[in-house]
């Protein structure tokens, strides 16, 4: 077997595929096959069905009200080819959200399958558990959590507007990587309404055990939300300086 490179011990610092060794200019057989396997698993994660029912049940178990919704994309294949449909609610879901809306709230939360239902299955509930603490601390009024199938980030704009929220946070399965089929992304948008651009959002990515912890992600999202409410915006003009705060006041950092 072709040996790994002598700096292999540094691989403990990163999930990246370093110090793989080589045969001539090329990858050793073992790594070529290991890569093929990871690709096969990531392909499977894209196409795994979203279990919205269990998800809704578990989120209700945390004490949130829950609403189910679907995008206008009626199948996985249509979802992949027609992102415009994944950004809109189905007519039926639009009615359901409009009927469920109460008075004005501070925050709407959308749990969307995105490109990895695996990520949502694994991360959404523990993240919401951590976020609940921040919500209670801040005293924010929260709309029912929307669990949305075949959904993209911008679907949150319509959902947030219907639920009369000052801001919407979309929890969504990120496109699965070879080493991370289960990574959750968080997108925060102030004053949600259809037509918002991506430059008007703040993003926190890589929420998973090997990436950003649920507690740290909840801390960051709450920091951004406070700043968004204070300054009346999200997006490129709102720079995430929560790490500065965290560095200044170590106690504010949640445990790893």
């Amino acid at each position: 077997m072709t040996p790994r490179d002598p700096w292999f011990s540094f691989a403990r610092h990163t999930p990246a595929r370093i110090a793989l060794g080589r045969t001539g200019a090329s990858l050793p057989t073992e790594e070529v096959l290991r890569f093929s396997l990871a690709h096969a698993q990531a392909r499977d994660a894209v196409h795994a069905p979203f279990d919205a029912e269990s998800m809704a049940h578990a989120i209700a178990g945390l004490g949130f009200k829950v609403l189910r919704a679907e995008s206008a994309a009626t199948s996985r294949d249509m979802y992949l080819r027609r992102p415009d449909l994944g950004r809109r609610l189905s007519d039926e879901s639009r009615l359901r959200l409009a009927e469920a809306a109460g008075g004005d709230v501070d925050l709407a939360l959308v749990v969307a399958d995105g490109l990895s239902s695996t990520a949502v299955h694994v991360q959404a509930v523990p993240f919401l558990h951590a976020l609940k603490g921040e919500i209670e601390k801040a005293g924010w009024r929260v709309a029912p959590v929307v669990v949305a199938r075949e959904a993209r980030v911008a679907l949150g704009d319509e959902a947030g507007a219907l639920l009369r929220a000052r801001a919407v946070a979309v929890l969504i399965g990120e496109r699965p990587g070879l080493s991370s089929p289960d990574s959750l992304g968080l997108y925060l948008t102030f004053a949600p309404r259809p037509g918002r651009s991506d430059a008007e959002r703040n993003c926190i990515s890589n929420v998973r055990a090997e990436g950003l912890s649920h507690e740290a992600a909840a801390f960051k999202l709450a920091w951004l939300l406070r700043e968004a409410f204070r300054r009346g915006l999200t997006g490129v003009d709102l720079k995430d300086e929560s790490d500065l705060i965290a560095a200044d006041t170590r106690v504010a950092l949640p445990p790893k």
Binding site: A11, A16, D198, S205, V236
Partner: protein
């Protein structure tokens, strides 16, 4: 202006220039998504034939996106060099293809022509070119740029060392930088996509790279690929910014969705150049592009995605960048469905960029929801190396653990160097030899477990 082309008893009508361009485009999912693709294979060829008969001059009188509505159109037309255009001004698009492939079109001739070409002309001719045409002509258009080394010389290909880490961990990023350098990669730039857009985090990453580059006197440059306004703020705070990065697109509206316009790009380019951190040149901007971004931002004006992409290169060349790369397969299957479409788009983008005088590299890549795999990437990489691509990405094992996609690896770069005999940027090549990383033949020397570079990861850990 409307266009008509007859094939036998059938007559194909195209409502205007952008409709003709869209219908003439080789098939791709993004144009279907936009509802502007040809309805049949025959209509596609009818549009190509019609386009081939079109005088190049038409592109100067008919804008695909109105002058009044779009600052990118204004940039393209206001900066057009009629003197440079003169040698081809009487040609049709079809004549122009024949000219580009002829022996009369030498690298010197094409280099002088670049300022006389608009992106729409480049896009139009690419639509009637086969893959081999795109390779042959691009190969005749080297574009040389400089910062701390010389990028783009004929017979060379550079590599961006992309040491991303899911939490921007200093030791993790250092380990990937070390791995890349010891595999002979990093002459284009050491460029990190940060997981965070937090300014203190980005500042720390810039200092980490500045430290390794200066300590080991590496003739290369660094970049954190964050928003241009963040880089401006960091430069104001005195952070060691070499290259300023921004994603750009070919329409004003798509650029707005990225939170930029031409004015802020100019502000950033001026600020970066004023820092004077280059040693052999001051090409201080780094841009990324990709087909589909204008449609994704709902700002495509009915223009096909490949023409929008070529217009992004007009934005890029206005700021004399060191590096520009299309991230060809990153955006997903709704724009480029499978390996075949990704390969075609990569060759088109590279050709259009080079013809327009832009130092084009390609992120040869795909995502896990596209119908593509490593074999498709091997094909595109090999074709681009044949075409003289300026640089490619170098990622440990081709797996980007932060951005969640597959690109090219350090090993992939070594593979094309073996096949095509491609060298690195000369200053970097000399540094690798001096550090004992490469042997006299340019191949890697046997791995050395006691190499002095290893100390830098140990310090970061």
């Amino acid at each position: 202006m409307a266009f008509v082309h007859r094939i036998g008893p059938r007559s194909y009508a195209f409502s205007d220039l952008k409709d003709l361009m869209a219908k003439a485009t080789p098939p791709r999912s993004g144009d279907v998504l936009a509802g502007i693709a040809a309805a049949s294979a025959e209509e596609n060829v009818a549009a190509k034939m019609c386009l081939a008969d079109l005088p190049l001059k038409v592109f100067l009188s008919e804008a695909v996106i109105p002058y009044e509505a779009d600052e990118v159109t204004r940039l393209i037309l206001d900066s057009h060099d009629t003197t440079a255009f003169a040698p081809v001004s009487a040609m049709t698009v079809g004549d122009f293809r024949d000219f580009l492939l002829s022996h009369a079109a030498t690298p010197q001739v094409l280099s002088r022509l670049a300022a006389g070409l608009t992106p729409e002309m480049a896009a139009a001719v690419s639509k009637i070119m086969r893959n081999q045409d795109l390779i042959l002509v691009a190969r005749k258009c080297p574009v040389v740029t400089r910062f701390r080394n010389t990028i783009g010389l004929s017979g060379t290909m550079a590599v961006r060392l992309q040491p991303n880490h899911p939490t921007d961990d200093a030791a993790g990023i250092s380990a990937s930088i070390l791995d890349g350098l010891l595999y002979g990669a990093g002459d284009a730039v050491i460029g990190i996509n940060p997981a965070s857009d937090s300014l203190p985090v980005i500042d720390r990453l810039l200092r980490l790279m500045d430290d390794v580059i200066s300590r080991f006197e590496i003739p290369t440059q660094s970049c954190v690929l964050t928003h241009v306004t963040s880089s401006i703020e960091l430069m104001n705070r005195g952070a060691p910014v070499d290259l300023v990065f921004q994603s750009i697109a070919g329409t004003q509206g798509a650029n707005r969705s990225f939170g930029v316009d031409l004015a802020v790009l100019k502000e950033a380019a001026d600020a970066a150049r004023a820092l004077n951190r280059g040693t052999v040149g001051q090409n201080a901007m780094y841009f990324e592009t990709g087909q589909g971004s204008a449609l994704s931002a709902n700002a495509h004006h009915g223009v096909d995605q490949q023409t929008c992409e070529a217009r992004a290169y007009a934005v890029a060349r206005a700021f004399s960048p060191l590096l520009v790369n299309t991230v060809v397969g990153f955006i997903g299957p709704e724009y480029l469905y499978d390996g075949k479409q990704i390969i075609r788009a990569g060759l088109e983008d590279h050709f259009c960029g080079k013809l327009l005088g832009v130092p084009l590299g390609v992120d040869v890549c795909y995502t896990n929801h596209a119908e593509a795999d490593q074999d498709d990437m091997d094909s595109l990489l090999t074709l681009l190396a044949a075409a003289g691509v300026t640089y490619i990405m170098g990622i440990p094992g081709a797996d980007d653990v932060m951005l969640n996609y597959q690109s090219t690896s350090f090993h992939d770069a070594l593979y094309v160097r073996e096949v095509f005999g491609l060298k690195r940027a000369p200053e970097f090549e000399a540094w690798l030899a001096g550090m004992g990383i490469t042997a006299p033949d340019g191949r890697l020397a046997p791995a050395n477990g006691a190499h002095p570079l290893l100390t830098f990861v140990e310090r970061a850990a």
